[in-house]
């Protein structure tokens, strides 16, 4: 579904990604872990071209990311959920969710609204359709953000530390929504520090450090039998 070939990313002199090769299969849930500043967000943002790789190739669902047209095409197929939600504060919850289907897919309003309401139902927020983002808790906002991304019917979902900005008691409600997505067979790439979740839901775990992919494997291979010393030392600090 996604193939990442020899991706390099530099911000000026700062060499953030130093040749990443990875592959995400259809319906696979890949969890990316690693210390802060190791380039996890940058990698995720390269997949939908919020950052342009300095070098390398990314192919999403058979579409190579080269022309502007392709980039927009891919973005329609790849949903992204941000650490800080990034809901549109001037729009109601319902309008947040239905905006992209209407403007990008040119979907009629009634249809977009129906899809939006179904998705809000799914994330447990049907009763908040007419509320505004600032009236919601962090966990609720993040669930709206997930519904908003799903409204485009993406083939892949990217999550960049979706629970890091949340109060502890709200983490579970967001992880539960992600879990149910995984069970429905959504292809997902998730950057997270929730190791319990990674173990339970992840098909594969990638460990990144200093812009490189250090080690990858099943959750069990990584969490219980890590081969690389850097992986072990990182895990010993957080587990």
């Amino acid at each position: 579904m996604i193939s990442i070939k020899n991706i390099h990313k530099k911000f000026g002199k700062l060499h953030v990604l130093k040749g990443i090769d990875a592959h995400i299969a259809e319906k696979e849930v890949v969890v990316i872990i690693g210390p802060s500043g190791s380039g996890k967000s940058t990698l995720l943002r390269c997949i939908n071209y919020l950052e342009e790789p300095t070098e390398g190739e990314i192919i999403v669902d058979g579409i190579p990311l080269t022309s502007e047209a392709n980039i927009n095409k891919v973005r329609e197929e790849v949903g992204m959920v941000f650490q800080r939600f990034n809901l549109f504060p001037h729009k109601s919850v319902l309008d947040n969710v239905k905006l992209a289907p209407m403007t990008v897919r040119k979907m009629p309003k009634a249809e977009a609204e129906k899809i939006a309401l179904d998705l809000l139902e799914k994330v447990g927020l049907a009763d908040k359709a007419h509320a505004y983002p600032e009236q919601l808790s962090g966990g609720q906002q993040q669930r709206v953000a997930i519904a908003r991304a799903l409204a485009m019917r993406p083939k892949v979902m990217l999550f960049d530390e979706p629970t890091s900005a949340l109060d502890p008691e709200m983490v579970k409600e967001v992880l539960d929504v992600m879990k149910s997505l995984a069970h429905e067979g959504m292809t997902m790439a998730i950057v997270t520090h929730e190791m319990g979740f990674a173990r339970e839901v992840g098909d594969r775990v990638l460990f990144m450090d200093e812009g490189r992919l250090v080690e990858e494997g099943t959750p069990d291979e990584i969490f219980s039998h890590a081969k690389e010393e850097r992986t072990q030392s990182f895990l010993s600090k957080i587990l």
Binding site: L50, N72, M80, N86, F88, H90, L99, V104, A145
Partner: protein
């Protein structure tokens, strides 16, 4: 000194006509200026070098030269190029709009830049184009924030519009001059003129306060 209150009463209707013209020219200029300013403000944030540079040159030129000189350029210099006299009203509005546009452009640019970068990224990540995100996400939020500086620009323009009196355009200041030429009531008339400007600018600033409050409440729902 002899204070001729009766002169004020007699001149007031004529001054009010002038004030009406001042309001007109200000409203026209700021409206056109907003339109120009919105596009130029966005252009200044463009990734295309030529668009960005042209916008910057325009803003720098206007902000770096006096409005009075800009009025002269349009009223006296431009006719030499186009080979035709320009109507004072057209010249006044053109000069003031072009002037206002540059200041409004900076206001828009600041407003757009004050919106969290995550908003553009969220829009783009949903597949919306840059333009669609600008229109549906960024500009509506930016607009609320720039109401106060836009209000200030409106007030500044209203006061600066007195400069078009130099090309004989009969707005409030010019009316005052003409009445004084006839009556020699310098003190009474300038006082009245100042008073009328004050009432107008005060009214606008109240109006802007009201709009700002209403949008703030709107925000909360």
């Amino acid at each position: 000194m002899n204070f001729d209150f009766d002169l004020i009463v007699r001149s007031f209707p004529l001054l009010l006509v002038g004030a009406g013209v001042t309001v007109q020219i200000t409203a026209f200029s700021v409206s056109l200026g907003m339109l120009i300013g919105m596009f130029v403000g966005i252009a200044r944030l463009s990734n295309t070098w030529i668009i960005k540079t042209l916008a910057a040159v325009y803003v720098d030129f206007i902000r770096g030269t006096p409005l009075l000189v800009q009025i002269f350029l349009i009223y006296f210099a431009l006719p030499i190029i186009v080979g035709q006299r320009i109507d004072p009203f057209i010249a006044a509005i053109t000069a003031c709009s072009i002037n206002s546009g540059a200041y409004v452009a900076e206001i828009f640019r600041g407003g757009i830049q004050s919106i969290d970068k995550g908003q553009m990224e969220a829009g783009r990540s949903l597949g919306m184009t840059w333009g669609q995100t600008m229109r549906h996400i960024i500009l509506p939020q930016a607009f609320k924030r720039i109401i106060p500086p836009l209000g200030n620009e409106f007030i500044a323009m209203m006061k600066d519009s007195s400069l078009v009196s130099v090309i004989g355009f009969e707005e409030l200041t010019r009316r005052g001059q003409l009445i004084i030429a006839r009556t020699y009531g310098s003190f009474e008339i300038w006082l009245s003129v100042a008073f009328i400007y004050l009432i107008m600018t005060f009214t606008i600033s109240r109006l802007v306060d009201y709009l700002e409050r209403r949008y703030k409440i709107d925000d909360k729902h």
